[in-house]
Point group: C2
Chain length 474, copies 2
């Protein structure tokens, strides 16, 4: 049965939660007295629909249903997850959580997006709220800091993983949890540097993203230092770096006065840095960069890439009526080129995915490959019939033209969003002994499965032109 | 003439500088009394040779010559850049820089890799050193903080850009420059969190890389907040976030005592986190991740991606004797698959690059496309003859089989590292009106250039089998 999440408080963070749940197939109800809530959430959703599916090489579940409510009880009925993202005022949070506690199902997880308050503060008058602190953009970044009662955090973790997030349960409650303590430390130091005229906002951003930012994106702080310490190890590194703690380097002991002049200085520098781009343009640039980097991390499974791989493995495989569906996915922005459509290379990337899926169907899987067996492509013939665009849903059906001996001859049809055949890829593969790097026969099990598909598909007409191009002597 | 850089002091940072200069075609001489210097630099170089070329879609210049010297004067003779990376002791730096000053060419740039000392400290007894502070791994990360005399910094900037780095000239000298002030602030806070049992080293790394780390890698701090502030702008954001400066969040006002217990706690947690991997394995994982993310940023030109694009544009285009060379590059690790060789899709990525290069040769360039003209691929026929591997140099020659009317029929040969034909791609393109999305005739200028190539290539034999597969009615 479709599950339901209730989002109390829209805005950028609440809207991000709406998108996370909705695009992962949950029904979502929203309560927010702001008359602009529907518009604001709609804008976040538009970004999310463009971005989130592009992270995956499989289609996400069908979207759930989104509803807006004026009555909190109605919004909360039947919810399995309630997320509060109202402004950071403790009196307001207390008032809202008293209502949520009364009106929500007894077994619902109740999370607060607070970046500053501790569970003991939120639950000062009783209650069962846990902190579930996400990071903007909530629809792309995996991290959620969980703080609170252990059983609830464990239950919350399972749900968060199922919507592609990374729950990090904090061992002790503490002001600002973990990540925001670092952000706060850096923010203070940055304000001093701008105020003292050492660097502009743009120069500080470059100092971060051209160096340690890109380092931290994949390993974090300690692992980076472990590697920097080299073979001598972490103790050696700390022996070198430790004493620097005593050096009079930072201005951390003091807080810059938050004057209008400082605000104007920073706002002015920020305008000079990127005032030529609208916030919407900046958001899309940010999202395209995040998607590109997170997709890159999928290759190694590091950090956010590992979260994506785990989530993708949970997504259901599509089933075909007639021919097997070997790919069902959405086209990411990064696959398009200067002609404004999917670049020719990615048609082959998709057909290679289709071949990989088909290999799984005949048990030529990871174990089979680890045992030294595989198929190598020797020829591909691609016919491009229609343009495909970023965001398009793309499905591939695979027909076996021939499957005997060393040969596996496949015909992939790439179907665009309206079901039309956007391209065909005729592909000839030979079975290989990976150790000898020579052709060989498949195992009996694989051969039998391949033959069964070939015999079944023999009832279908041969695609026009197939077999004439591929697999012939030159 | 080949330029020369002298590296004083090997190790991880000095070795990184060696690799940066050497792989960008400079000759490099090293002075380091450590008897292990040659081995240590060799290890960094092995990593760099595997990693740096993978960032680019063009080949880097031929490597320069690397020499090791026992005599500092010999090492310094003829150097255009001298980089000192000796341990962070001011007396040692003074001694070394007195010698460099005496023995190096008068017009050489003299840089120090120091993370802590200011130019006024380094030059306390006279001298012309500027701080040129890089980030590990020096062969991949672009950032170099430059501090010192303005003319020298300007000259240094030009050289650093020519070897693919991003010079950031700091406006005022200050302890620890810019980036290390942030690193120090975060390091202190992280030590408290571990010491107080709030989080382990691994949890802290996840809190960084699953959230703000990946955000900072592409936009830095202020730009991220600008976007978070939304349409209300930077002032609105600061009005919200500013007051938090006064909150008692961080332990920054105090420094944790650097006891053996704390060192053991952190080293032990770090071992638990990744003791199953050797430092060499971690380095390669880090490098693969950095390459993948930096290549992703090339698509949008953000941050490190913009630096790569600018550097790539400076690299010379190859020239063919007979057929034009349309691609000359190295195969990145991320292009390989579970079969241990370049995945079939990237053969088309390379042939698409070859087609793009050839289009430039007939003036079908960015302006031409902006004016609404382009070529679309309608068919590709790929024959895979030999495996290609990560790190292999790959060149493509392009033969025009036919170029008349709307048609451009090309035959790309992909040559592996020994010159052998590893694959061929026969490709048929049609000229398009990008506004109408319909076929059209090329402009006279483009048509004339294409015809000239076609007529010149008509003297060559038609490749075996070409024209039979592609461009025929099914």
């Amino acid at each position: 049965m479709t599950q339901k999440a209730t989002i109390i408080g829209g805005g950028v963070i609440g809207g991000g939660w709406v998108a996370r749940f909705l695009l992962n197939g949950w029904n979502v109800s929203v309560f927010d007295p702001d008359t602009e809530a529907e518009r604001k959430i709609g804008e976040v959703l538009a970004n999310a629909r463009r971005a989130l599916p592009a992270l995956y090489d499989k289609a996400l579940p069908a979207e759930g249903t989104l509803t807006f409510h004026d009555d909190m009880g109605e919004a909360l009925a039947g919810a399995a997850w309630v997320q509060e993202s109202v402004p950071e005022r403790l009196d307001l949070k207390h008032k809202i959580h008293a209502q949520i506690d009364e009106l929500s199902p007894a077994d619902a997880v109740i999370g607060s997006s607070t970046s500053g308050f501790k569970p003991s503060e939120l639950n000062a008058h009783g209650g069962r709220v846990v902190v579930a602190h996400p990071f903007n953009p909530v629809y792309l970044l995996p991290l959620v800091e969980l703080v609170g009662e252990a059983d609830t955090c464990a239950k919350a973790s399972d749900i968060l993983r199922s919507i592609g997030m990374y729950p990090l349960t904090v061992r002790k409650e503490i002001d600002a949890h973990i990540a925001d303590r670092f952000l706060e430390a850096v923010w203070r130091e940055a304000l001093w540097l701008v105020k003292d005229g050492v660097a502009t906002t743009e120069e500080i951003d470059e100092a971060i993203r051209m160096g340690f930012g890109i380092r931290w994106a994949q390993m974090g702080l300690f692992e980076t230092y472990r590697v920097a310490g080299g073979e001598a190890g972490m103790k050696h590194f700390m022996a070198q770096f430790g004493p620097a703690l005593q050096w009079p380097w930072t201005k951390l002991m003091d807080v810059p006065e938050f004057t209008d002049e400082l605000v104007d200085l920073i706002a002015g520098q920020s305008d000079a840095q990127s005032g030529h781009m609208s916030i919407r343009e900046l958001e899309r640039l940010r999202d395209d960069n995040l998607i590109g980097m997170m997709r890159a991390l999928k290759k190694t499974g590091s950090g956010a890439g590992g979260v994506l791989n785990a989530h993708e493995a949970m997504l259901p495989d599509p089933e075909g009526d007639d021919l097997p569906i070997t790919v069902d996915r959405v086209i990411p922005q990064s696959w398009t080129d200067y002609n404004g459509h999917m670049n020719e290379a990615h048609y082959i990337e998709v057909s290679a995915q289709a071949t990989d899926s088909f290999m799984l169907m005949i048990d030529a899987d990871a174990d089979y490959i680890a045992a030294g067996n595989s198929y190598f492509t020797v020829e591909n013939f691609v016919q491009y019939h229609a343009e495909l665009h970023a965001g398009d849903r793309l499905t591939v059906t695979t027909q076996v033209l021939r499957g005997e001996g060393k040969k596996m001859h496949l015909f992939h049809r790439l179907h665009g969003p309206d079901g039309e055949v956007a391209a065909t890829v005729e592909t000839l593969l030979l079975h290989m002994d990976l150790n000898a790097r020579k052709t060989s026969l498949p195992t009996e099990g694989v051969a039998a499965k391949l033959t069964a598909f070939a015999e079944d598909h023999a009832r279908l007409p041969t695609p026009q032109g197939a077999g004439r191009h591929v697999g012939q002597r030159g």
